[in-house]
């Protein structure tokens, strides 16, 4: 907080370089103790963390594996995936490297460093810019004033920071990890802790295309997954729309009661509902099969989810169950939009002589659809990856002899789950996860880009 108006300080790059070496040093050169302390705190935390978790002492023979702290050893581990396999002895495992732990820790270290790098670059640029401004004759600024200015100017970034940090570690980290696994030989033949995992480049990508029966299964399952995602989204939306429009009708008595009832499937935990339906549609013991026979509609029990000769029956029933589960959300959604459509629209339409159906078609539907379309894309994506319903309802059944480890109702995600976890082919699973990601991501980005909500961002 120098009050000297004379700008006899060093040239602008000097504080910048100083801050690059020791964070906050440049600010100290600039005589801004508050700022210096702020940046130095991050630097001290970084160094303290590294030395505290590492093994640094004078005159050591440095090697990142033995001496590195969280960051150095993390990066070393990410790069090498370990060099020393563990041995089994009568007292347990000897010390050694666990490649998967090293990889995960390495990623954590890398992401932490990336976040800290933001502060680092900030400190360098600040030291440099401030000194340049001083040298150009600008008035000095106190640290307090600076932070106040930052708080207003960078308000968005500061407020977003907690959420961003949370997402970097809880969402970005796992995704990066999943992508990295695709480039390793991490599978049943090579599992830690006793074995080291290695980087293998694109080998796994070649493998999945080299097994013809998988390609056939992949294409078949992919086709059904698309049908499922489209039909499931369309039916829940249509049914929700219909119910909402009916409930909005002035003639309905006790609309609140009806709506409460229709909201029930949304309120009841989804997995419980899926299990209930699985039991109800159980071919042997399920009440529906029995009832159909008792009434005389069918001569034999109907094996809803398990009859391989009727895969489409299972698919249809799964879609119906999904409809039951999913329509209340769209009903609430559309219901809310309907209350927001000004009455004047309808009045005007009536004046023009539009009947109720025409009003529905020309006012209600377009307005609702325009509002809802981004959510429809999200619904499509979540149906595409709808693990819960299929896994708990049909478990992929009925069986399909043309598929490997997949049944007729298996979605890509459930197939992948069985394939990777039952057979412990983690690297192959990672490759397929990436494929799914690319497919779903492309579709949604393409669609979102066309929607009004995104274009107007």
């Amino acid at each position: 907080m120098s009050t000297a108006q004379k700008t006899s300080g060093p040239p602008a790059p000097v504080p910048g370089i100083a801050s690059a070496l020791v964070w906050g040093a440049g600010q100290l050169v600039n005589r801004q103790a508050g700022k210096a302390a702020f940046f130095f705190a991050f630097f001290a935390a970084l160094i303290g963390w590294e030395t505290g978790t590492g093994n640094y002492y004078a005159g050591m023979d440095y090697d990142p594996r033995g001496n590195g702290g969280f960051f150095v050893k993390g990066l070393w581990g990410l790069f090498t995936l370990g060099t020393q396999p563990r041995q089994m002895t009568v007292t347990g495992l000897t010390d050694g490297d666990n490649s998967i732990v090293l990889m995960a820790n390495g990623l954590i270290a890398l992401l932490t460093l990336a976040l800290l790098a933001i502060v680092w670059i900030w400190s360098i640029r600040d030291a440099h810019a401030y000194r340049r401004a001083l040298n150009a004759g600008a008035a000095p600024e106190t640290s307090r004033a600076y932070f106040k200015r930052v708080w207003e100017g960078a308000f968005a970034y500061i407020v977003l920071a907690p959420g961003l940090i949370l997402m970097v570690f809880m969402s970005v980290l796992p995704v990066l990890f999943g992508i990295l696994v695709a480039f390793t030989d991490y599978n049943r033949d090579n599992l830690p802790p006793k074995n080291l995992v290695n980087w293998v480049g694109f080998e796994n990508f070649a493998t999945i295309f080299a097994v013809p029966s998988w390609t056939a299964t992949f294409i078949g399952v992919l086709g059904w997954t698309f049908v499922w995602a489209v039909v499931a989204t369309a039916t829940t939306y249509a049914a929700g729309f219909l119910q909402a429009v009916l409930l909005a009708n002035k003639k309905v008595k006790y609309p609140r009661v009806w709506r409460s009832v229709f909201l029930l499937p949304w309120a009841v935990p989804g997995i419980v509902s899926a299990l209930v339906f699985r039991s109800m549609f159980n071919g042997q013991f399920g009440p529906i099969s029995q009832w159909l026979m008792d009434v005389g509609l069918t001569d034999e029990r109907v094996y809803w989810f398990t009859d391989p000769s009727h895969p489409n029956l299972a698919r249809a029933v799964a879609l119906l169950v999904n409809l039951w589960l999913g329509f209340p959300f769209f009903m609430a959604l559309v219901g809310g939009v309907l209350t927001n459509i000004p009455d004047s629209y309808y009045e005007a339409a009536r004046m023009d002589g539009a009947g109720p159906l025409q009003q529905l078609r020309h006012i209600t539907f377009p307005v609702v659809h325009r509002t809802v379309s981004p959510l429809l894309i999200l619904a499509f994506v979540s149906n595409f990856n709808n693990f819960g319903v299929i896994y708990f309802l049909t478990q992929g059944g009925p069986d399909n002899a043309d598929y490997r480890f997949a049944g007729s109702t298996d979605l890509l995600i459930t197939w992948l789950f069985n394939l990777t976890l039952d057979n412990r082919l983690y690297n192959i699973g990672a490759v397929m996860s990436m494929l799914i990601f690319v497919i779903v991501g492309t579709i949604s980005v393409w669609n979102l880009n066309r929607s009004k909500a995104i274009r107007e961002l």
Partner: protein
């Protein structure tokens, strides 16, 4: 969760043992036996009390300062074993403490690889014998050390072989032995056929079915889980098909011409149990037998407690007997299985963990096991005589009789189960011809083996 593998009773001729090095005798303990004094041979950092034939438990555990952590699937069994252990060691280790976490036996090995690394895994964990190979390969189970000599004297060689790694060391303690068998409702059979004698061939079953089956009423003469090789193998083997005929992991025997024929016969059984494979789940199958609605069921001893309850509630008696043989007349084989307990490679208390693991195969541990779950301890027959009630238990006798025909395959790859199950389902649900199903199994097995 039930393992895919299974097991056998004591004193059974197991026909084939795959791979898995035979018993390499552990040296240390024998040498110590000679000395009259208390000699303590240190082996690998653990203190072995040769006199008591056990490791000396670490001070932290012995004093009760730190509890030994157990991973069990069955809470009752965990409590029973803890009580029995404390009773047996009340003079030596009066203060020892335990805690347990409920972990499914099928998941234990998998979970240990993460939890162990994190330092919060169990010190010992229960699993199935067919997961021991994986635990050895990954390095989550530690060898038993000196206890090998103790255990080898108490159980059949092939039990030991099934938990032995390629280095010749034992990596788990066999605890129970089991096999599926035919169980029959004596009371119901009496009303249907006028005799409570069980069927010995599938023709006998079919004869009852002709009379009793009524699909509209969901009445079936026999129920089992038809979509799993674990069950279908009894029929296939009775028709002359043998899995892994040469004992080589690369040759599962799916290309044997006898297999297609056996599958045809198996498909024929759908006439008397006409339900898609996915609908016949273990829960429903067992519930119907427990309710007294089905004369026959093929299942394993894990269902005994449910059946005992059901029999008492619904007023019937049931028996256990070998699985009926098929047209070709070979005895129906089955997969022998074992529940095992292993010492975590991550444990900080390797001695205490080994003492506890070994305890499950001791007389007191075996008695607690039988008393709690009714399972058959994996011990030599002469050691079982001391367990109250076991010798007179007709249900156990039935399992043991079937066990005499059971095959114990150590360390089958998991893709054997997935490909063979697919084959069984394809045939049962008439998805493809028997020959095609067998051919698909050959291809699928090779595909997975080659990855």
């Amino acid at each position: 969760m039930r393992s895919n593998g299974a097991n056998a009773g004591p004193s059974m001729n197991r026909r084939h043992l795959l791979a898995a090095g035979g018993g390499v005798a552990a040296a240390g303990a024998l040498a110590a036996c000679g000395g009259p004094e208390e000699e303590e041979a240190a082996s690998g950092g653990l203190e072995w009390d040769a006199d008591a034939q056990q490791y000396v438990i670490e001070a932290e555990i012995a004093s009760g300062e730190v509890p030994l952590k157990l991973w069990f699937e069955n809470e009752d069994l965990a409590n029973a074993q803890i009580t029995a252990f404390k009773e047996a060691f009340k003079d030596v280790y009066p203060d020892i403490q335990f805690e347990y976490e409920l972990v499914a036996q099928n998941d234990a090995v998998n979970e240990m690889s993460l939890a162990g690394e994190a330092g919060n895994g169990g010190d010992v964990f229960m699993s199935f014998y067919d997961q021991v190979a994986r635990a050895i390969e990954e390095g989550t189970a530690a060898p038993l050390g000196e206890y090998e000599s103790v255990l080898k004297g108490r159980m059949a060689e092939n039990f030991v072989g099934a938990v032995t790694g390629e280095d010749g060391q034992m990596y788990a303690v066999p605890v129970t032995t089991e096999s599926i068998a035919l169980m029959y409702n004596k009371t119901l059979l009496q009303t249907i056929t006028g005799s409570e004698e069980p069927a010995t061939t599938w023709e006998d079953v079919q004869a009852v079915a002709a009379e009793y089956n009524d699909p509209a009423q969901n009445k079936w003469t026999i129920r089992w889980v038809p979509g799993e090789i674990y069950y279908s193998y009894s029929v296939l083997s009775s028709m002359g098909w043998q899995a892994y005929p040469g004992g080589d992991v690369a040759e599962p025997g799916f290309d044997d011409p006898a297999l297609a024929e056996a599958l045809d016969y198996y498909k024929g059984l759908r006439a008397i149990w006409d339900v898609p494979s996915a609908d016949a789940t273990p829960e429903t199958v067992e519930a119907e037998f427990a309710a007294g609605n089905t004369p026959y069921i093929i299942t394993g001893p894990w269902a005994f407690s449910a059946f005992d309850t059901g029999a008492a509630e619904n007023g019937f008696e049931y028996g256990v007997t070998p699985i009926p043989s098929a047209a070709s007349g070979d005895p129906a084989s089955s997969f022998a299985g074992m529940h095992v307990i292993a010492v975590s490679a991550y444990t900080k208390y390797p001695a205490a963990a080994r003492v506890f693991a070994n305890f499950l195969a001791s007389d007191a541990g075996a008695a607690a096991l039988y008393a709690t779950t009714g399972q058959i301890p994996a011990l030599n027959p002469d050691l079982l005589t001391g367990i109250a009630g076991l010798a007179e238990d007709p249900h156990v006798a039935g399992i043991v009789a079937q066990g005499a025909q059971a095959d114990l395959f150590p360390q089958l790859p998991e893709y054997f189960w997935s490909t063979a199950n697919e084959m069984t389902v394809a045939v049962w649900d008439d998805l493809s011809s028997s020959a095609d199903a067998a051919a698909a199994a050959v291809a699928g097995y090779d595909e997975l083996a080659g990855l």
